[in-house]
């Protein structure tokens, strides 16, 4: 009798794709630049976010599969930022870590990376995080001073060193503060978005409405205790200090425009400090795992991380807006999963500017644009406004670049878990984060 291969022969390949789930999240309250976290470094901020997560889920001494994260504005000394944070945390020092950087999409891209490894069976658990501080931003020396210093360092003789230093000019001593201008266009992100805003004819009123809703929704969520298990206070700050629960249409309408003032054309500038995100300090971390790992550790599962799609647009030579990449990514993501906008219960669209949300929605509703730019048969669809950023977003919370992805992912995961618990139906959330460089990262999560 012939024998079939041993059923319990040792595997030589890793297990196939499996579910990656969101266990929970933690962030520190976001602080306006130069205020409560003025003395804290990126490393301190992210370590605090990780420590809060460790405390919430009892991960002390735990060896996780990996911790991935990063910062957009980063000191060169922080070349191993996330690993240093792990070493300074209560996690096992045997937990590997690496830095990710994809501008404002850093946090979400980190989550995509970690969940992919979990789904492939390479790891069972991981943390995706991000941090940014404007208050402690790196300041660089001028190119002239840098060249002189490098040449002097490399010189072998005292004479050579002096010769190099003699090249120094007073103008070289002026420090370079970090800028968020696009290197290829020289335009700030706000100026770029002002072009897009004007192109889509987004009104000042509509933008202010988005800002007002963001503040009101976030304030309500705080008051309801939604963030009780999503945020751990830091440096005495217990709530996002950019949040203005008492703001009003009148107050927002009274603000002077800051972007698009020099824009050629007839459009009135519409983008103000009220409907644009402020510079912010903060950090976030999300615990991701396989279902089995979560179960073995008696941990809850908020949502399944279903799929993700990143996109990029040609804003340099092409005519697409800088922050329009998610507009391209989302139809691809939903099509791959056989879904339409109507199948999504919660839309988390990062409010880089109020008009980012509005231009995204306008583009998806535009037949011509969707045909020519997105290659669809017609308009992608109309998103129910009541499903967008229901617990506020970056306009109210603030936007510490790399920390925003983690904030949104944890919020969305808790929203779907809550809704699913009350309705018993599957619930889906879509996350969309635009980023500098014409980048965008999007993700789909579903109730576990």
């Amino acid at each position: 009798m012939s024998r079939s291969p041993q059923p319990d022969a040792p595997r030589t390949s890793p297990p196939g794709p499996r579910d990656a789930v969101v266990v929970g999240g933690n962030r520190i309250p976001f602080a306006r630049a130069g205020r409560k976290y003025a003395d804290a470094s990126n490393q301190e901020l992210l370590t605090a976010a990780i420590e809060g997560l460790v405390a919430r889920f009892g991960l002390q001494g735990e060896r996780l599969g990996e911790v991935a994260g990063g910062a957009v504005l980063k000191h060169s000394r922080d070349f191993n930022l996330v690993r240093e944070c792990v070493l300074g945390s209560s996690l096992s020092p045997q937990t590997p870590a690496y830095d990710v950087q994809q501008a404002c999409a850093t946090g979400l891209e980190a989550a995509i990376a970690v969940t992919n490894k979990i789904r492939l069976g390479q790891i069972d658990s991981g943390i995706a995080g991000g941090t940014d501080t404007i208050s402690d931003a790196p300041i660089a020396v001028s190119e002239g001073l840098r060249h002189v210093l490098l040449e002097a360092t490399h010189a072998k003789t005292l004479q050579g060193r002096l010769k190099a230093l003699a090249k120094l000019r007073p103008a070289d001593l002026k420090p370079l503060t970090p800028v968020t201008d696009e290197p290829r266009t020289g335009l700030s992100m706000g100026e770029h978005q002002a072009i897009t805003t004007a192109r889509w004819g987004i009104t000042r009123q509509a933008q202010d409405d988005v800002a007002l809703a963001s503040h009101r929704h976030l304030a309500r969520a705080w008051d309801e205790g939604f963030f009780d298990d999503l945020v751990t206070p830091f440096h005495g700050l217990t709530r996002d200090d950019n949040l203005r629960p008492d703001t009003s249409s009148e107050k927002l309408a009274a603000l002077a425009p800051v972007f698009g003032k020099a824009l050629a054309g007839t459009a009135e500038p519409t983008m103000t400090a009220g409907n644009s995100t402020p510079l912010t300090d903060g950090a976030s971390a999300v615990l991701l795992a396989s279902r089995e790992w979560a179960q073995e550790h008696d941990l809850p599962v908020l949502a399944r991380f279903v799929d993700a799609e990143t996109a990029a647009v040609d804003f340099v030579h092409g005519h697409e807006g800088l922050l329009m990449a998610p507009v391209h990514a989302v139809p691809r993501l939903l099509a791959r999963n056989g879904l339409t906008v109507d199948d999504i219960d919660f839309f988390e669209i990062h409010e880089a500017f109020a008009s980012t949300v509005l231009t995204t929605l306008a583009a998806w509703e535009d037949d011509e644009y969707c045909r020519t730019e997105l290659g669809l048969d017609g308009a992608f669809g109309k998103v129910d406004r009541a499903r967008i950023n229901v617990n506020g977003s970056s306009l109210a919370a603030g936007h510490p670049f790399a920390a925003t992805g983690g904030r949104i992912l944890a919020t969305a995961a808790k929203l779907v878990a809550q809704r699913a618990a009350s309705t018993g139906e599957p619930v889906r959330a879509l996350i969309s984060v635009c980023a500098a460089g014409g980048l965008g990262a999007t993700a789909l999560i579903e109730s576990a």
Binding site: E51, A55, R56, V231, T232, P233, D298, L299, P300
Partner: protein, 484 residues
Amino acid sequence: MTDAYTRAVNTGLTKALATRLGLPRPALLRRFEAGAPLTVGPVLLLADAASAASADALEGVLAGWGVEVARSGGGAPAGGVEDSGSGRGLDASTPAEGLDPAQTTPVRWGAILLVLTESGRPSDVSDAVLAAGPALKRLAPHGRVVTVSRAHAPGDAPALAAVRQGVDGFLRSVAKELRAGATGNGIVLADGAAVDNPSAQAALRFFLSARSAYVDGQLLTVSTGAAADAPGPEYWARPLEGRVAVVTGAARGIGAAIARTLARDGATVVCVDVPAAGEGLARTANAVRGTALQVDVTAPDAGARILEHARGRHGRLDIVVHNAGITRDKLLANMDAARWDSVVAVNVEAQLRINEALLAAAAAGDVDGLRIVSLASTSGIAGNRGQTNYAFTKAGVMGHTAATAALLAPHGGTANAVAPGFIETEMTQHIPFATRQVARRLSSLLQGGEPVDVAEAIAFLASPLAAGISGQTLRVCGQNMVGR
């Protein structure tokens, strides 16, 4: 932190100066350290004639713990367990001879254990008590005096009631005569409990040990607890092994110390505090390798969330420590509703509501043998000017603890309270300097206690063997002069 004065009179030049001037010298108290001996020296066991058998039983218990025992006083010499092969009872005034002939310096007693359980009337105890007198002069620094007696009950003969209640006044007075970090406490057996029942053993061990450093002049009533096996050394090393405990107000101060102490004793600790205190809470939770649960104890669903977290994440719930508390001091004449109501909400109503959820869970069989320990205060016993709201709630805690104990008893659970006196915390650092100094010195130990002293008492009451101790309020006050 030991206060500056206590440090000064115990170190260097200032110590010499304080001694010359005859200044009061509060001792640097001996506190628990893993691996340190239970007592600082041998135990002198004294008993009246009628209580000799009880003394025998306790001698066996002490010997089992590896503690050297010497017998003297009104009772017969030791029957079963002999010390150091000397084969005879020791005379209290010359302990060195009997205990260790090779020893050149006189032995100092680590503790004097006075067993008066079976005394019938006041005149019975003379010999034993008078033997304790000279022995006190040989009580080592950080030594212990522990009385073991019985509670009087309605229907007792007047003479019996007199001697039993008499021990109370005797113990409290002896405690006030002790110096150098020595303390006196009493075990009062109720309902005919055996002198060596597991709960009495746990209480005896607590009072003898450094864990009770700041408990002084207290008498604890002990009944027969749920049947338990004779505990071995592994139990005493980690009495809370495998237990899951919840500590409210764990972000800092006494709550953080409770979390650390329960974890040291083996418990997995769920650290609870208001979301705004999350930073300190995370620090505590990570230090004790527990979990942080940010929840306001005054929330209507706080009890449900605590139960869900403990059972869902850790599989069980054994211990709940109601430590969260606030002060909003004001003379009653100036008291406003916000001050009164917030103190009532946090300090007592929250405990009541959470206990309702716990009792329901106990009735449903979801928790078994639950230990509830609540923070009361000496302010609730003696009263404190400017603290009508606080004292109202803290006295209320003692009241509901006694009532809850009765409700938990059918489910094998206990409810007790701990009433701290002056404890050195961030909160008490804000008391004006002079008031703070007076508050510290107005106790037999002449100093404030440390948060860990409160925590040790809680860990003891929360331990499995403390099953026979319920409905009690144990003071941790260094025998503060106010109140009982």
